[in-house]
Every structure is written in C-alpha cells, then in structure tokens.
Symmetry: D2
Subunit: 149 residues, 4 copies
C-alpha cells in the first residue's frame, strides 16, 4: 500500500455526495459510476485552471477523446458517502493529457480508488489527433507555476 497516493499528491479536489441511484444491489456504488466521479472532476479541474471547455469545440475545432482508463477499486463507496476526488495532470503531451486521480472519503486518508485516465485531443473535422490547445497549455503551466511558488 506504500505506493498509494495521499491527499497531498493532488492540487485540486472536487466533492460529491453519493446518490442513491449510483448504488447497486450489493449496496455499494456500481464500479461504472466511478467513471462519472472522475470525469466530472476532470471537467472541474479544467474550470479551475480557467479553461472554457464548454466552448473548446467552437473555439478550436478540437475536442478531447478518452483513449484509456485504469481504475483501481480499493474499498467500497456507499449511499450518502461524502467523497473528495483529487486530480492532477500526470503528463501533458503534445496532443494528450494523462490524468491521475484518487477518491477519498471525507475524514479518511487512505484512498478508496485511484485512476489514470488518458485523453487525446482530436480535430473534430477529420478525427486526427490535434495539439492540446495552446491557451489551455498556458493556463495549466501558469497554475502549476503559481502553486510551486
């Protein structure tokens, strides 16, 4: 367990409370719904750095596609649990963004889940990969620099 991330590894968190419909008959959150927590938190990270994701397609003709998700399910989540999803950028490539994430139950330091999610930016006119928008790259670098100060 020594390689599991802690809260200190993440510059940004987005909070959720588990909804009733997200559970299944095992009494825990269905594993496919962890994807929703992570995906929503990535969007919120982009909002946090100042990126206008909602209009990226209109502004640049490009949009991100997910190409890989790896999710570890360490402990169950239950109805009404309050969770904090930590997000950081593990790698900022030319056309790709690799995210690292982890889910913590409020008040607990050990993550109940960790994830690596890879996005590739794509030109929506022909589907080929496209550079991460320059403006977004600048916003990410500025935010990381500000945090390092």
């Amino acid at each position: 367990m020594t390689d599991q991330p802690s809260r200190a590894d993440f510059p940004f968190f987005h909070d959720f409370r588990v909804r009733y419909n997200e559970t299944d008959q095992q009494g825990v959150v269905f594993f496919g719904n962890f994807a929703i927590y992570y995906d929503t938190s990535l969007s919120e990270f982009l909002r946090w750095v100042g990126h206008d994701y909602k209009n990226q397609m209109r502004d640049t003709g490009t949009d991100f596609h997910i190409v890989r998700s790896t999710i570890d399910y360490i402990a169950p989540l239950r109805y009404d649990d309050e969770i904090e999803v930590g997000v950081r950028i593990a790698r900022l490539g030319t056309a790709s963004l690799t995210w690292a994430g982890a889910i913590f139950v409020k008040g607990n330091d050990a993550p109940v889940s960790t994830a690596e999610i890879v996005w590739v930016n794509a030109d929506q006119s022909n589907g080929t990969s496209a550079p991460v928008p320059e403006k977004l790259r600048g916003l990410i670098e500025a935010k990381l620099a500000a945090m390092a100060d």
Copy 2:
C-alpha cells in the same frame, strides 16, 4: 386493478433482461431506469413500423422531444428478470405522439409498470413544433391497418 392493461392491449413488445447496474441498494431496479426500458422500446416500435428514426433529423430537420412522462411502479423488478415491454400509440396528433406502455415479467400476466409518454415533434432550426413526418404517419397507419385485418 381492473383497468390495468394486459398483453393483449399491445401490438408490439421489446424484451430486456435487467442488468446488474440497473438495480439500486434496495435490491430492485431504480425507478429512473424504467424510463430507459420505455424509451428504448419506443425506438424499437418505430423500427418495427419501418421508420428510419436515426436519420429523421437529417431527412426532415425535425426530431421528437419528450414533454411528459407518467409512470406507475406497481411491483419491483430485480436483477436478471426477463421483461417484455408492450408499446402502442394511444394518440397520433398533428405534431404529437402519445404512447402507452406496460412492462410484464416473463410468464406473468399482471404488469409491473404502466406508462404514458408524450412526444412532440420539433423543427430543430427554431424549436417550434412541427408536424409528425408524413412518411412516419403513413407507416403507422399502414401497420395498424394491417393488424386490423
């Protein structure tokens, strides 16, 4: 219970098997997921009469919007249940389609759910209501006539 529909009230059925993720921690299908069974079955009804719904938007510039759903939940559905969703058109208006539906568990005659769902066709360029596509109207009437024979 005398006014509950029976299988004989429906000309068309679409079958499902309840998926694990559709249950919630009560051990039954979350009520919001009944909407998925009904919605998918309406699409299959349109396929059955011969309508190319997937290309309706491209072919006519119009698409259906739901304006009202009324769903009764009479008995629970459980994981792995095999269900049959009956669908009929309760009213074919100028710009609207009113559907009646019911869900039966295989081998049982009493419905576990009934529904009324109202669609309005809309011009996608300006959002105003638009006539139900003539071709679809013809297909529905032809199918109903063929069944009456």
Copy 3:
C-alpha cells in the same frame, strides 16, 4: 403557463450542475436523468427536516417505495447548466408522501420541469403498506410550522 410553479412555491432547494454523462446525443439531458435530480432532492429535503433516512430501514423496518412519477419536460437542460430543484410536500397521507417538485435554471424564473412523485411506505418484512414513521411526520410538521411563523 399560468399554473406553473415559481420558486416561491417551494420551501427547499437542492442545487446541481449538469454532468457531461447526463446529456445524450441531442445535446440535452436525457429525460430519464431528471428522475435522478428529483430523487436526490427528495433525499436532501428529508435531511433538511432532520430525518435520518439512511437508517429508516434499520430503525423502523420500513422503507419508501415510489408508486408514481409524473414529470413535465418544459425546456431542455444542457451540460454544465446550474440548476435548483425546488421540493415541497404536496400531501402527507397515512402511509404515503406526495411530493411536488420543479427545476429552475439559475437566474431564470420559469421552471424547465415540474414533477409529482408519490411514495408509499412499506413494511420490508412483508411488503404491505406501513404508516409514515411517526418521528418523520413530526419533523415535517415542525418544519412547516416553523416556516409559517
């Protein structure tokens, strides 16, 4: 439209931001997901009056089942919309709770959706209807009385 509710009709609101996965290919929230907004808001209403819903089953042996939902879809919701779901108790019966709800987009006074949802309390040992827990009834009445002052 004169009979549509306004914010003033509701004592309680729960806020959401539309998640990406809640949209469908029409570019708007899939109608079945409105059920999630309403359901989660009813739970939050119960928390607001002081009811320990999570432990109702353990404490009383009873749980609420939905028996009917009627939802009107007046205008579409889109990704990232900030919404406020108003909830009130329309009728508190012996064994049933009838909820009225409406969804407002932040900054707009006209609802984009209204709903009536009926719950019946049921004894989980045999499925028969059971009185609404006395303690919950008291909490609701106390909250309504406090608001009327």
Copy 4:
C-alpha cells in the same frame, strides 16, 4: 495494432444494441457506459458456463468484487450500433478471476475497445478474500476442456 485481439480470441460473445441514453453530447457512447457492456457480458459468460451467479451469495456466502478495470477506447460507438462483446478468462486464480474482453461492431473485425477486468471473491461476512467457488471453477474448466476438444 498487431497486438489487438480478434474475434477468434474469444469463446463467448454477448450482443447489444446501443441505447439512446447511453450516448452523450459528443454523439458517442459515454466511456463510463462501456463498463456496463463489459459487466453484463461477464455475467452472461457465467450463465454460459452454467454458474448460478444470482444465488452465489446465498449458496456460498461469497460474492465477487471488482478490484481493477483497464479499458481502451479505440473507436467510438454510436446510437443503434450493434455490438458483440467477446469475453474470456485470462487467469483463474485461487481467489481471483481476471477477464479479458473486447467490443466489436457487427461486421467489423477490428475491436473498438479492449478491457481487462479483475475480480476478487470475498466472504461477505467479513470482507476477506475467499476461494473462487469450487463448483464454478469446475464449470469453467469443463467448458474450456470441451472447447479444446
């Protein structure tokens, strides 16, 4: 692409047609919903070998928990696509099952997605890992032996 699986790598397939609600505003299936296709197909694989998964908990006091999912998203899925999900057991451990899966669009030989999903069996009374039920192990081995003939 040389290491991507083909249909010949899988002894079992389960078919789906993409539902409208499974798409998102990009016009393609939301990535979190791929988990549903895989999960449902694993259950169907267990049915195919003759395992009574629905009653495993009652019969053995154990149930499977997912501990890791790795999913590659190679090409998008769209509304109404007919898909075939191939499943095989990549490794049958003492207490764990490692699944390999791939999704093919009908008529296409290249997978649109591949997955590896790891389950661990757990004693539901205390949450500790438990051997894969003997009977299930026998059913899997018998099926694989029969296919090798």
